[in-house]
Every structure is written in C-alpha cells, then in structure tokens.
C-alpha cells in the first residue's frame, strides 16, 4: 500500500494545476512504456510515485474549481475543466497500470523489447558513448526541442533515475537516456548519443 498524502487545500491556480497534470500524465505514459519494455523496476516505481502526485494534484484542482464556481454559468464553464482533468488523471492511472506489469514481476517477453526498439519511432533509449559530442554538455544548451523536436525525459546514472531532468543537468559518459519526440529527430538523437553522429545541426 503506498503512503497516501493528506490532502490540504493550497491556493494554486487552476491553470497551473491543470498544466502540471497534463504534462505529468504524458510524461508518465512514455516512462511507463520504457519501464515495461526494458523491464526496469526502478523506473516503474518512479512512475507509481508520479501517479500519487497526479492524484493529489487532481484533488487540489477539484477544490479550486469548487471555489471558483459562483453561478450556473461558471459551473457550466468549469465542469469541462474538471472532466478533462479527470481524463488526464485516467491517463496517469493507465501509465501506473503499465508500471505495475514490471513491479508485480509479470514482465513483457524479452523479444518484444528487441522488436519494439526497431519499430517504435517516437521513444528511444540510448547509452552515452565516450566519443559522443554530448558528453559534459548541459541539456539546456543542446536545444534539442528546437533543433530536432526531441526531449530527454529521463536519465539513468549509477542505477538512479533522474526524471524530467532540468536544463542545467549535464550529460555524462555511461548515462542511459530516454528521449521522445519526432521520429526523424529521435533517430538523429540516438546517433548523437552513441557517438555515431558527430555534428549538431541547426
């Protein structure tokens, strides 16, 4: 049984809460698929933790919505926000279900991961080679999103996962990076990480 955080009202704007719920739910889906397909327990546990966080945020959002509705017009306008947030919460639940496949030792057939890496175009996992030009660069200075439509969503370093790393996080030799984005960019990114491509194009 995971520890459930006590929910206390906090004044956070509906916009901020919804934004975080949406971002986290999408991040969790990609992390969860990675955890299942590469059978990574630590990463799966991190997804379960994020699920808790999204639950808490959804409670807080519902509270904000209740306070904000003063008349029938408000209620009509806000029920949509509540519905969409609960759908995003369901998406995060779905991610947790994927993670549970790993934490409950069910797993996915190893051959599946092998084939998956060949056909999946939007999600990749790559180990930083010592010859990679990304070594010792900070994520922010690489401008990956602008350059190739790619985002690093997690780094595994010394067996610990850094989820949604910040711009100032440096990339180190032997890091395992999980990235998602546009198919062509994802391919280019993998080649850069593995040192097969030695130039960062604009």
């Amino acid at each position: 049984m995971p520890h459930l955080e006590k929910i206390e009202y906090k004044p956070i704007s509906v916009r901020e809460l919804f934004l975080e719920i949406k971002n986290l739910s999408e991040l969790m889906i990609d992390l969860a698929y990675s955890a299942a397909l590469f059978n990574d327990k630590e990463l799966a546990e991190d997804v379960l933790e994020l699920e808790n966080r999204v639950d808490t945020l959804t409670y807080l959002l519902e509270m904000e919505i209740m306070i904000a509705a003063r008349d029938p017009d408000d209620a009509e306008a806000l029920v949509g926000v509540s519905k969409v947030a609960s759908a995003a919460d369901k998406i995060s639940d779905a991610a947790a279900d994927i993670a549970a496949i790993v934490t409950q030792n069910i797993g996915v057939h190893p051959i599946v991961s092998e084939v998956f890496e060949k056909v999946e175009e939007r999600l990749t996992r790559a180990k930083v080679n010592e010859s990679s030009i990304l070594v010792d660069k900070q994520i922010g200075e690489l401008d990956l999103a602008a350059r190739m439509g790619v985002d690093i969503i997690a780094i595994c370093r010394n067996k610990d996962w850094i989820i949604n790393p910040k711009d100032i996080e440096p990339i180190k030799i032997e890091d395992v990076l999980i990235a998602r984005g546009a198919p062509s960019g994802v391919k280019e990114f993998k080649a850069l990480v593995e040192g097969k491509l030695r130039k960062l194009e604009d």
Binding site: L19, E76, A77, S86, K90, A182, P183
Partner: protein
C-alpha cells in the same frame, strides 16, 4: 527461436505499436478539439475509439493464438495488459472529446494550458507564398524541419487526416503536435 515464432512476435509488436500510436494520436486530437472547440475533430476521436476497440480485439486474439509455452504465459500476460492500457488511454481521449461534443465551450484556462504545455498542439495557416503550397507532406519534411507532426488539415471547412501523399494547398490550416519550440519554425514556413 524458430523463424516462424520470430515472425509471430514481430507481428504482435507491430500491432501493439499501431494500438499505442493510435491511442496517442487520439490524445493529441482530443486536446486539439478542445483548443479549437471543434466538434469535427472531437467526432474523429470518437470514431478512432471504435477503431481502437477493433484493433485491440485483433491484438488480443493474435497474442492468445501465438502458441506460447506454459513458462512463457507470464510475459504474454504482460503483453495483454499493455493492450488493455492502450484501450484505457483511448477511452480517456474520448472523454476529453466528449466535453466538446456536449457543447461545453472549453474554458480559457484549458486553452492556455494546452498552449503552454511541454507537448503542445498548434495550428497555422498556409499562405500563398509558403514553400509548402502544392507540395506533398512527404516532400516538405515538416517533422525534420520543425520537430512537429501534422495531425489534421483543415481545408474549406473540412478536416482531412494527413497521408504522406497529401498535397498542401494555400489556405490550408495545419493542426500539428510537438514541442512548443517547433511552433515558431512551423509558423515561419507555413506563413512566411
């Protein structure tokens, strides 16, 4: 492993990736329907939901008929569960689209948040002087140039689902998804 079994695995994974991609496309389209308050896009999401149900059944049948051994049962259960999850995601996307179909005008906060999110959906109009005009999607390499991919094209009041050979016309509105950083590049190319 026998070549026959290997082939079966490849087929299972391909089907799974199709399920996964469709459920994710539905999420993007559902948020787009909110952003544009578009019943048409929302209806597309609902239709895709039915399509996913069918894909999901085919996927489950394929997994169950793969003739796995007793000791492999667990990892095949894992596959079945992955399939169930894609269906859940598709359902959630359909719920988002339902808000639009119910005639609830999306709250400005939703619009703001979708535009500000890390992965955003955006729309740009193609002007006459754009390099996109009269070229196919395959020719213009939008994902390579901008990191964004086109989810739908609005043309003369109708929505078209893009294929690689779809030709872009002046006046088209491209609805695209990707990281916010690519938005400006796309705008520059579509309406210079």
């Amino acid at each position: 492993m026998s070549p026959k079994l290997q082939k079966k695995f490849e087929e299972i994974v391909e089907r799974f990736v199709e399920l996964k991609d469709t459920s994710e496309l539905m999420m993007d389209l559902a948020y787009s329907s909110l952003l544009l308050n578009s019943k048409e896009l929302a209806e597309d999401v609902q239709e895709l939901e039915e399509h996913v149900d069918k894909l999901h059944t085919d996927f489950e049948l394929l997994v169950l008929s793969s003739g796995f051994k007793r000791e492999e049962a667990k990892s095949f259960l894992g596959l079945i569960r992955l399939g169930v999850v894609t269906e859940k995601i598709a359902d959630a996307a359909a719920e988002i689209a339902e808000v639009v179909l119910r005639g609830i005008k999306p709250h400005p906060v939703l619009k703001l948040a979708i535009e500000e999110a890390e992965e955003t959906v955006t729309y740009v109009q193609v002007t006459e002087n754009s390099m996109f005009v009269d070229k196919t999607l395959r020719e213009v390499h939008i994902p390579e140039e901008t990191g964004m991919w086109v989810l739908a094209i609005r043309r003369r009041g109708k929505y078209i689902r893009p294929k690689p050979h779809t030709k872009i016309e002046s006046g088209d509105v491209l609805i695209a998804s990707g990281y916010a950083e690519g938005e400006e590049d796309l705008k520059k190319l579509a309406s210079p």
